[in-house]
Symmetry: C2
Subunit: 331 residues, 2 copies
């Protein structure tokens, strides 16, 4: 069954490390991939496609950059590498899809609102996830300017600005206890700000946190503002039981209240778990419950969420797609 | 249980993309990792530690290198990045180990033959695998010089030197059919040289190969030499049934006769599959059947075997080890 002129062999949805790595591998495999990189978002500030790295000032842990690299520069490099092998790119967002029959159809829209239907034999979903934020204006501003607000302790905890400084983690689940424990190796003190009076984390991790002399949990409390002009200097707090307001000095603010995978357009089409992550057929591979639909990156990863793990999955998805297309005789 | 001065928190065995990426993450997590990078091998030529990439002339598909990179240069970059975060490195090979009780013990030897016992709370195995070669002198020489001999079609098939040229693949299993199918997109013709009279590959892939007009299987035949001075110009063949000798012109030679994971020192200590790959407890993570022992890279991956997938696994192993050590209260 040869490909008709109108049907794409493989469409990659998303333009983070997973999407571009999938494109590098798919393009080098002569699959002539089309990447739908998404459209700029206008809130809260203009955000270009490229995934979470576009809002990251310094990446120290992606192997191959011994001196570290700015997130946007790194994404530019990886995109350039994909384009070198003649990947095609369209700045379009997928709004809905029909994966119930092959070829698959994707409804897309561009920045100007023009719609287009894209059809494809194989689809690689690499839309990623976004960190959940408390939703404070200063929080977003200081995250984007690299001023000490982060949603990833593993990524940013080791940065010099946080060494021997008091840090704040918001949350009460496994992520919050993991991030606080991680940060306690660097910080002078870690405060967990939690709106409830007990941790939702697994018992063993909760106990580790409570036993850790460098970690203090501030119970029944929410953050009402992040303080600081260029850099975080503290947080404003409010006790939800007493209504009492206070401030706490700190040099770093870590949101650990979960992530939201960008899978809404797949609802009802692809198997998602209760947190809307895409379910892998085999956790070590990229296959989903729909034959011909592959996934890579944070949209299917609630555990690691690193650029390098996403890139590794992008490679797997392209190899799996290539072999599947070959088996089906789609050249 | 605090760490005594003599017990390492985490020892990483191996120095390919998986090992160094694990080191970057472990070092940034303040785990003060020790990398046992292996020792130089003297056969067939002097080979330095650093994994299979040390014998790779051009890497085009590792994201972050838009113009491509030499394998040894890339490994130097990633090692440098690990050292920047104060990873310790010893040029030692692990000859045997005892993983039956914690802390684990590793028996090691250096290039001069001096032995040393290393003890560790957590171990990350990242020893990789080596491609199996036919075992011809010219084969190894032309592989190391980038002269058109390869063991990875996905890595090298798209290189300009192979475009529209006749290529040879040796083997008859799934790898050989996958590699031949992959190469048929670029080559003018692909010859599969197979010592038997039928393919061992899955029926669907075998049929795809037999139906592919660009692929021809040369049955009952072995390669007795790779011809060419600086670049492959052909292969010498021998029919194992008739004894007839012949030559075949080609510009590339791909060995697809499997890989051998470097896991011999783990025999009887860690669960290995029938091909000696390390068995993962959960295919999407890095845990093995021994608590505290983690694995990353080709030693546990018979499917993808790419530098970027190995690096992604290295990251996972370090994060898993960090969380496990935190849970155990080992600081």
């Amino acid at each position: 069954m040869p490909t008709s002129g109108d049907i794409e062999k493989v469409v990659i949805i998303g333009s983070g490390p997973a999407g571009w790595t999938a494109a590098i591998y798919a393009a080098r495999a002569n699959l002539d991939p089309l990447v739908l990189e998404g459209i700029p978002k206008q809130t809260p500030a203009l955000m270009l496609p490229g995934g979470q790295l576009m809002q990251t000032t310094e990446v120290e842990n992606f192997p191959g950059y011994p001196e570290g690299v700015d997130g946007p520069k790194m994404m530019e490099d990886i995109k350039k590498q994909a384009l070198r092998f003649e990947t095609r790119v369209e700045m379009r967002e997928v709004t809905s899809c029909d994966l119930s029959k092959r070829p698959f159809t994707l409804e897309t829209v561009d920045f100007g609102g023009d719609t287009k239907t894209v059809t494809a034999h194989a689809v690689i979903v690499a839309t990623g996830a976004t960190a959940n934020w408390v939703g404070l204006e200063n929080e977003r501003r200081l995250a984007q300017s690299g001023g000490g607000v982060s949603a990833c302790a593993v990524c940013d905890g080791a940065l010099p600005a946080f060494r021997d400084q008091p840090l704040v983690v918001v949350g009460g689940g496994d992520s919050a206890t993991e991030e606080a424990t991680y940060l306690s190796k660097f910080a002078s003190k870690v405060f967990i700000i939690h709106r409830r009076d007990e941790l939702r984390a697994s018992r063993i991790m909760a106990q580790r946190v409570l036993d850790n002399p460098k970690i203090e949990v501030v119970w029944d409390t929410v953050v009402t503002d992040v303080l600081g002009d260029k850099h975080v200097t503290g947080v404003a707090l409010k006790n939800v039981k007493t209504g009492e307001e206070s401030t706490l000095d700190c040099r770093g603010f870590f949101a650990a209240i979960g992530h939201t995978p960008l899978t809404e357009f797949l609802q009802g089409q692809l198997e998602l778990d209760d947190k809307k992550y895409i379910v892998l057929e085999d956790a070590g591979r990229s296959l989903t419950n729909i034959e011909g639909v592959f996934v890579a990156g944070d949209a299917a990863d609630s555990v690691y969420r690193q650029a390098i793990t996403a890139a590794g999955m992008g490679c797997k998805a392209a190899i799996d797609a290539e072999r599947w297309l070959a088996e089906k005789g789609i050249e």
